[in-house]
Every structure is written in C-alpha cells, then in structure tokens.
Symmetry: C2
Subunit: 362 residues, 2 copies
DNA sequence: TTGAAAGCGCTAACAC
DNA sequence: GTGTTAGCGCTTTCAA
C-alpha cells in the first residue's frame, strides 16, 4: 500500500483544483472561492497570496462544477437551420459576439432544417442545462416547441416566430410586400413567388402573404402557377415549375424569392435557361446577405437589420433568463429595408422573352 | 415551520433528478443510472418500471453532473476565425455534423482573427472542460498555442497548422503553385499576389511560397510590388497598392489571391477600377466556396476538400481524445484541386488595359 | 475575515 | 440484480 504524500498530490494530467490552491497558500477553499468570485471580504494580503498560488499552479476554475452547484449555466444554445446560408452564418457570428461580451458561451447547433435533427440537437442542449436558448430558424415542429415550453428553459426566437415565446424578427409580410410593390411599380404584372422548402413554415407563410397582399392591393392576382417551392434537394422540380410559368402566356416577368439564398439559385436557373436578369426577368430576394452586394451579383433585396436582430435577440433572451416566466411575452418587430440593386428593372418593352429550350432542357 | 412532504418534493421549476425517478419506482438511484447508461445488468421488469417513471416524470439526465463525475465531457470546442467567410461557415457546419453523429456537442467560438479574443474564447472553452478542441483558423499566437499545450487538452488543427499538434489541411504550397502555374500556362508573366491580413500566418506564408515557387520554376520573379495584403478593415490600402501595380509598366495581368473571400473583394476592386475580369485581368482564388461557383461570379479557384477536412478533423481529434498524449503527432495533408472557371483567361493580346482613373479614384 | 460543512446530480466501485 | 457509498470541484450558508 502506497502512502499519500502530504504535499499537494499532483498526479500526471490532473488539473489543479481549488483545493490545491488552498493548500498551497494555507487557506481554506472558501477563501480561494471568495477571491475567484471577487467577493470583497478577503483581506488584501490573503488575496495576494491566493492570486500568486493561482498563477504558479496555473489554476483554472471548473465551470462544470460551478454550473452544477449554481444550478444554472453560462451556456446559451443557438439552434440554426442552415449555416450554409450566409444570412444565418452572419447572424450566428453576431449573436456569438453579443453573448461573449456578456460572458456567455454559445453552443451552436446546425439542424439542416430537419425536425428530427432539431429535436435531437435540442435534447443535447437541454442535457447540458443551457441557461437559455436562441432559435434562429425553426422548423415549426410542435414537438420541439412543446419540449421547450415543457422544459421551461428561457428561449427567444430570432428572425423567426412562435406565439408562446419571446421573439425578434422583421416584419416579413411588410417586407415581402415591399419587394412586390417595387416590381409592380416598375411595371410588372405577372410576378411569381419562389419559396424555400427549408425555411421555417410561419416565416415562409408570412412572406407569401405579403407578396399576395401586395398583388391584391394592385388589383393583380398571383395566378395558379405562381407559387413555386425551391427544394435544394430536388432543384429540378422548381426549375420545371419555373420554366412552365415562363412559357405560359402571358409570361411572368418577375420573381419574388422568399430569401436571398433561394434568389441566387433562381438567378442561376433563369440564366441557365438563357434568360437575362433583369433584362428578361426581374428578381428580388430577402435577407440582405453580403454576396448579394457584389457588383457581379447585384441582387435587389429586402434587407434585415442583422446587427439589431442579434443585439435584440440576446437582450430579450437575457431578460427572460433573468425574469423567468413571470415577464410577459415580448415580440419585437423590426423594419426591413428595400435595397434596390441591379436585379430588377422594367419588364421588356418588346414582349416576353423566349426561354431557350435547348439550355432549359439540360 | 412547514413540514416537508414525504412524496417526491416538486418545487416549482425544479427539474426531476435521478432520485425522483428512483423514488417513484422504489429502486435506488444506481439502478436508474444503470438503466440510463444501458448497463445490461438490470432485470427486464425493473428496467420497464424505471423507463415508465422516466417517461411520466419527463426526466432528462443532467450532463453537467455526469461530466463532473466522469472528469470529461462530450463537448468539443470549435474555434473559428471568421464565420463570415463561407469557407469556414461551411466547414463548421460539416464538423458539427460529424461531431453530433458521434454524440458530441460542439461549442463554436468566433474569434474575428484577433489573438486576444482567441485567447479569451479559448479560456471559456477550457473552463467548460471541453473534451477536445478543433482550431479551424488560428492566429498563430504562441500564447494561445502554449496554453493549449500546457493544458494538455486534445486538439486538432483543421485547415491550419501547428507543429506540435495534430492537423489536417491541404497542401497550401502546392495549391498556390497550381493556381500560379495555371496563369503562367495561359501566358501571364506579371502576376500579383494578394493575401488576407486575417488569415493565419503559416498558411498565408505557405500560399505565398507556392506562388513564388511557381514563378521561379518558370523563370519569372514576383517583382517588388507584387505582394499585396488585403486588410478588410483598411481595404483602401490594398486597393491603392493594387492600382499602383497595375499602372506600372509592364502592367500585371493576373492576380493570385490567398483565398476566395479575398478574391471576391479583389474582383470587386478591379471591376471598380474599370477593369474586366478575365478580359483585362485574370484572377484565381483559393478554398472553393460555394458562391464562387455561381455563373455570375465564376471564380477560378483551388478548391479544398471540405467534407474530407471535416471528417478527418473529427477523426483525428477523437483519436487524440482516446489515446491522450501517447500517440505520435499526426499531420494529414490532402490534395487541393484546381477548378478552372471564368475568372481566368489569356492576357490581353492588345497590350495591358488602362485603369479607369476616374473610377479608381472613388 | 476566514473556515467548516452541506450539498448540486451523477457515476462507479463494491457490498449484499 | 440491486443498494450503499464515496466522491467529482465548486458555491454558499453559518459559525468561529
């Protein structure tokens, strides 16, 4: 039987704990804890000794233990649908920045828009006992929603919506209407809408509503082939629907896309059919992602105020984390802004363009 | 004085613990633990009872407590420089996917390329006692590096490099040489290099080396004004250097950019000067981000195999987490691939293009 | 101003 | 098979 040494036992690979620090400078661990937490009850001389020991030992407090005893954590879970979409990548980055300024660490999960993955990632976050949850995109799956509510974890929807949770988002309906109004003002009469299959249902719905509302206000109607859904896993379907709507008479002369990510794909598809944007067909996106601003791309879009969304999102979440379920639910709506760039213009005077059927067939 | 009820005390907001489950079905918490952990020592009948209790109570194990007692966590810290750069956003997404398949949760931190923020975010990760660390971009700051080594936390460098840590990356030098070879083969003789100030130093260096190596192999030399650094916070400097190099005689006819993110900005700057790509000047990027593939952008680039990088990165990290510091350091080098698209072509036959000084002045 | 002690929720020996 | 027990590293009363 080996005897334990009396001096701080330092097995290989073992991190020093608060006890090692305490032992080194002959105080109790409470005192070390008081120093660490900045409680101003410690005598200056003692504090110095403790600080020195922390330094020499390379002591680093264990957040896991602290979280366990405090029954809360400085972890914020961020659930995002698709980091491929620059809008969300940018938003996640901004939120992480906001959170870390406030000493919170973010756990970021990408769900790919699949409700079952969303549920699984959420479970992981809940097991980590995150202090709060930010949903940046939300499948709308009611099982996921009820899990959040049942768990009672503070949550905020950012750039998406759920009745029962705090949220901050832009006015999607107004934004989509602005996009459509812009096209109508340019003289377009037959305008299509392409939405994104991956997009959360309620936002998708509101953007479609805004589009339809604008048309109605101008005495126009969408037409039965005007609502197209872009599913990135089966782009050929949307391309086919798009082509049909463009070959009909009167041919569509403009497209409102549900977001920039989709708009870029639609632009690609249209140009693949031999159509020129905006000469033959105009296109408006939604979100205001950075690449849309490149002169090569020059996508007219309805921009969301990302920085404000991130800031408000974190603010609302922290408020909820502080107040618990007592505070009333807060829904912030921010105003989107129409950025007119080079992908929109008046419809062709010389009548509708012809789809290049050779290219279109590919 | 109120008396404590004998039945499971359920204060408001208190999550059920393993003890509540145990009490509910009259077993000890070890048995519940055995069921949870899938230890096959539990009698089927007991297991059923426990499972039922878990179900009705909505019990969810506390990963914080588990991590504390197990002295390890299923958390993987991912440190990335800039999520704005789609290359990293895409890579992060892939790594998160790989990690979650293996039941690991990722903690993602964005450092903005600032060493001090990198150090701060790293501290947060270490306090959470992450089981492993993936560095996707690394300032090269030696303080950060030595912190990782001192802490003894398993770490892998992905798409970047440190001698003392496992890594997986592409052969940056060979890739940059491929890009340059391609331009030389097209007939270009005076070729500039624009690197990215935010980029980690060693990768930046290797890509520059590859560029210089290729030139030398072809009997060319860069010229004293050929090395330009793009700093996103002061783009005007790079633009000025670029313009000078283009106004000199013989004027440069091609640019190798250190990455796609920078290439896109250079493209924007060149076209802002009234130059056309590739007619007046050719441009090659590095990374292979998705937007480069849009027909509007059509950026010739040296693509990195992102999926493989993510897969190998997680594999190497998990290997290190399993073996501790005993295993030898592993450096994997993957081959990059030249994607010739529309931003490169032969130099103008009719001599160098004229920079539009009106536009250039803006 | 400092220390002693009681946990936070869980795992993992080990005993029964 | 199941229960008992001893912690993991820390915070937080409460006494001294």
């Amino acid at each position: 039987v080996t005897e334990r040494p009396a001096t701080p036992r330092f097995q290989h690979g073992r991190r020093p704990t608060i006890l090692d620090v305490a032992a080194m400078c002959g105080v109790s661990k409470s005192t070390v804890s008081n120093v660490m937490r900045g409680a101003d009850v410690v005598a200056p001389a003692t504090r110095e000794r403790v600080l020195a020991a922390i330094e020499t030992l390379g002591y680093r407090p264990n957040a896991v233990a602290r979280n366990l005893v405090q029954q809360r954590s400085n972890l914020i879970g961020v659930v995002v649908g698709n980091l491929d979409n620059p809008f969300y990548a940018e938003l996640v980055k901004l939120m992480e920045g906001q959170a870390s300024v406030r000493e919170y660490t973010t756990l970021i999960c990408n769900t790919g828009g699949h409700p079952e993955r969303e549920a699984a990632r959420l479970d992981a976050l809940l097991e980590q006992r995150v202090g709060g949850l930010a949903m940046l995109e939300f499948s709308g799956d009611s099982a996921v929603l009820s899990k959040i509510v049942a768990e009672g974890v503070p949550a905020a929807m950012v750039s998406c919506w759920a009745d029962s949770l705090d949220s901050v988002s832009v006015d999607d309906e107004a934004g989509a209407a602005m996009a459509t109004d812009h096209l109508v003002a340019l003289g377009h009469r037959r305008i299509l809408h392409v939405s994104d299959a991956k997009m959360e249902a309620s936002t998708r719905g509101k953007r479609m509503d805004g589009y339809a509302l604008s048309l109605r206000r101008h005495g126009l109607s969408p037409g039965d082939d005007a609502a197209i859904v872009w599913d990135d896993e089966h782009p050929e379907r949307a391309v086919r629907d798009l082509r049909r709507a463009l070959e009909r008479s009167p041919a569509a002369t403009a497209v409102v896309a549900a977001n920039d990510f989709t708009a870029l794909r639609v632009m690609e598809a249209l140009e693949g059919m031999g159509l020129r944007v905006p000469r033959d067909i105009s296109l408006v996106g939604f979100d205001g992602i950075a690449v849309g601003g490149l002169s090569r791309v020059s996508l007219t879009t309805v921009a969301q105020p990302q920085r404000e969304l991130a800031q408000e999102g974190i603010r609302i979440l922290l408020r909820r984390m502080a107040h618990g379920s007592t505070a009333p639910i807060e829904h912030r709506r921010l105003a989107p802004e129409l950025l007119v760039r080079g992908s929109t213009g008046p419809p062709r005077a010389a009548g509708p363009a012809k789809v290049d059927s050779r290219k279109a067939a590919e």
